[in-house]
C-alpha cells in the first residue's frame, strides 16, 4: 500500500468536513462535520506512524480521540444552552456579538 492513498483519503474527508462546517446552519450538524475533520487528522497520524514504524502516531491518535469526546460533550452542552435561550439551534441567528 502506498502512503499517499491514505493521505489523499484523509485530505478529502478534511475538505468535506470543512464544507460541512461552512455550509450547515444547524449546530448539531456543525459538530458532526467537526468529527469528520478530527477523523481525517487521525487517519493521517496513524498512517505516518505506520510509515515511520513509530508508535507515537497511534498514541497521539488515541489522545485526539479522547479530546474529541470531551469536545463533543462540551459542544453539545453549548448547543443545548443556545437552544434554551433562543429556542432554535440556527447558527446564523446567533449574531448578538456582531459589531
Amino acid at each position: 500500500m502506498l502512503l499517499v492513498q491514505f493521505l489523499l483519503l484523509s485530505s478529502l474527508l478534511f475538505c468535506i468536513g470543512i464544507y460541512g462546517v461552512l455550509a450547515r446552519k444547524n449546530g448539531v450538524m456543525v459538530l458532526m462535520s467537526i468529527e469528520l475533520i478530527l477523523n481525517a487528522v487521525n487517519i493521517n497520524l496513524v498512517a505516518f506512524g505506520t510509515m515511520t514504524s513509530n508508535i507515537a502516531g497511534e498514541v497521539f491518535a488515541l489522545f485526539v480521540i479522547a479530546i474529541a469526546a470531551a469536545e463533543v460533550g462540551v459542544g453539545l452542552a453549548i448547543v443545548l444552552l443556545i437552544f434554551r435561550n433562543k429556542n432554535s439551534v440556527d447558527l446564523s441567528s446567533i449574531d448578538s456579538m456582531k459589531g
Binding site: Y19, L31, A69
Partner: protein
C-alpha cells in the same frame, strides 16, 4: 498487498459516500447514521494500517459514545425527525469552492511529496506496545488528558444545567 488495496478502495468509497451524505442530507438523524458508517470505515482503515488498538478504540468511543451523544443532542434540541428544509446556509457555493480549492492544493502537495512512499509490509502494532508507550513516554500527557476529561465533564454539566 493486492487484497489490502482492494479493501482500501472499497472502504474508501463507502467512507467518501457517507461523508458526502453527512454534509448534504436534509435529515438530522440520517446524518448521524451516515456518520456511523463513516466512523466504521475509519476504524477499518486503522485496522488496514495495522493499528488494531486505535481501531477498536475508534469503534468504542466514536460509534459507542459520540454518536449516541449527538443523537441526544438532536433529540434535546427538538429537531424534527423528518426532512428539514432549513438546515443549510443560503449560499452553498462559497463553501464548496473553498473545500475544492483546499483539496486541490493539498492533493497536489501530497502527491508531489509522497508519490513513491511505500508503507512497510509487516507493521502490526499490538496493544501492549501502545500501552508501554503511553505509560512510559507519554505519562504526563496521559494524566493531562484525564484531567481534561474530568474538566470537560464538569464543564458540560455546569453549562447545560438549569439555573
Amino acid at each position: 498487498m493486492v487484497a489490502q488495496n482492494v479493501f482500501f478502495g472499497i472502504i474508501a468509497l463507502i467512507m467518501i459516500y457517507s461523508a458526502l451524505k453527512v454534509v448534504t442530507t436534509k435529515n438530522v438523524v440520517h446524518a448521524a447514521l451516515w456518520l456511523v458508517a463513516l466512523l466504521a470505515g475509519v476504524a477499518g482503515q486503522f485496522l488496514l494500517l495495522g493499528a488494531e488498538f486505535v481501531g477498536v478504540t475508534q469503534i468504542l468511543v466514536y460509534i459507542g459514545a459520540v454518536v449516541v451523544l449527538l443523537l441526544f443532542g438532536v433529540m434535546l434540541t427538538k429537531a424534527s425527525l423528518g426532512d428539514e428544509a432549513d438546515l443549510n446556509m443560503p449560499n452553498k457555493t462559497i463553501p464548496a469552492v473553498i473545500a475544492t480549492l483546499m483539496f486541490g492544493v493539498m492533493s497536489y502537495a501530497l502527491i508531489d511529496t509522497f508519490r513513491d512512499a511505500e508503507l512497510p509490509r509487516e507493521s502490526v502494532t499490538n496493544a501492549a506496545a501502545v500501552s508501554d508507550s503511553i505509560f512510559a513516554d507519554y505519562i504526563v500527557p496521559f494524566e493531562a488528558v484525564s484531567v481534561l476529561l474530568l474538566a470537560a465533564l464538569i464543564g458540560a454539566v455546569v453549562v447545560a444545567r438549569k439555573e
